[in-house]
Symmetry: C2
Subunit: 215 residues, 2 copies
DNA sequence: AAATGTTTGTTAAAATATAAGCAGGAGGCA
DNA sequence: TGCCTCCTGCTTATATTTTAACAAACATTT
């Protein structure tokens, strides 16, 4: 944290993985590790791991390695996992419901506060303590509640409009599951999960392998 | 396709995006485009787009541009979207069901043939023509049916074991939603969708913005 | 206490990915 | 036709990312 230069996105994408493996080490009862060991677990080179971590400060000890719990806490702090976040989900269809019910965000404090949809059949239902509300109540809701992250799970046709509405109400972090690239101002961060693009890539490599096999 | 060198993964990840935007151009009734126009739409540089496409052959015409439909078909062929794929989903929980019901794979021919789970309450239910079967029937099923892609939506604790079973039965393409890095032989391609890592990255950037704002 | 083996933090080099630049072909239009 | 503009395909330059290398710090053993 002593270094305020912009950290490469590639580094940021690797941090959650380190965090996860450090959690596994903890579960295994180990309290000391090394870049070499982490390299074997993650598949990243030991050199890269050391360099990644040193972007934020020297957490290790020469000749010894890293203290598992300490390093994990440091990464949590860097990512911000030591804080609580309130989430809303726009679009309570398949994906929206799956996210609301997803238990995989363990070890971090994300709370789904509400879902929004325009389908009257869904409005009023609740998912894990979170109520599905009418999309028309969105603005009013955001004016009262303090929400950190909004998840867009709407059809792509309305995703841009929904995103703009969110931003207007103060949202600055969007997790986007609609197959669409949202045009947003610089001060909004959008993290995309484009499932179709992911599947299309997989399809490409699947065919490449088959091609190779038949050569 | 004249070039058999390995194409960079970065290029492959961009192709689905080109494909999507070409589809939008078609919908808008345009039959001609250019790298400059695609650049404005996608946010990638025109130069990069031209270079990406030229990995696979010259689809454009100097002084004119690209024929939208032709280029779209070429990309579809490169990715393999001109073929049909049979999919099974292992784990019929939140995510598994969401994928089964997901209609966003339009314009490509993916068919979810079956889901597998061990929960007796789920077994026998059907999602969009696909039946949820007992996980114990998986091997037998794979010996009879010809499946292209398996989607892992199980808890992470069993994901590795399930993956190994799939590979043993001939599966070579895995779309993995479990928060775990599967150890697989080289001839298996795994495409990961690590939702927690994605959310953690978003969290980092969210905090960075707040930090900047308060400085 | 000295010698030896580890492992970090950091710097330098290599590899990869992205952007810029430009020659030449194609279309449009006077 | 001849001139002008546009746009690709390719080559060269820049930027980014990854890997390699190594001195200094610490732990362990003798």
């Amino acid at each position: 944290m002593n270094n305020n230069d912009k950290i490469s996105p590639a580094v940021i994408r690797r941090l959650p993985k380190y965090y996860r493996y450090l959690g596994e080490l903890t579960k295994m009862g180990l309290n000391k590790t090394s870049s070499r060991e982490l390299s074997e677990m993650t598949g990243f080179s030991a050199s890269q791991i050391r360099q990644d971590l040193n972007n934020f400060g020297g957490f290790g000890q020469q000749g010894f390695g890293y203290d598992v719990e300490n390093l994990r806490n440091e990464i949590a702090r860097i990512l911000g996992l030591d804080k609580k976040y309130k989430i809303i989900i726009i679009g309570a269809g398949n994906i929206g419901q799956a996210i609301a019910n997803y238990t995989g965000f363990y070890e971090a404090d994300y709370e789904v506060v509400a879902l929004f949809d325009k389908n009257p059949k869904l409005i009023g239902m609740s998912m894990r303590n979170a109520l599905i509300k009418d999309i028309d109540e969105l603005e009013e809701f955001l004016n009262v509640e303090n929400i950190d992250i909004a998840v867009i799970c709407t059809p792509k046709s309305v995703s841009q409009q929904v995103a703009e509405q969110l931003v207007q109400c103060g949202i600055r972090a969007i997790w986007n599951f609609a197959p669409k690239d949202l045009k947003m101002p610089d001060y909004v961060h959008v993290e995309n999960v484009h499932l179709n693009e992911s599947l299309f890539s997989l399809t490409y490599y699947y065919n490449q392998m088959n091609k190779k096999k038949s050569e």
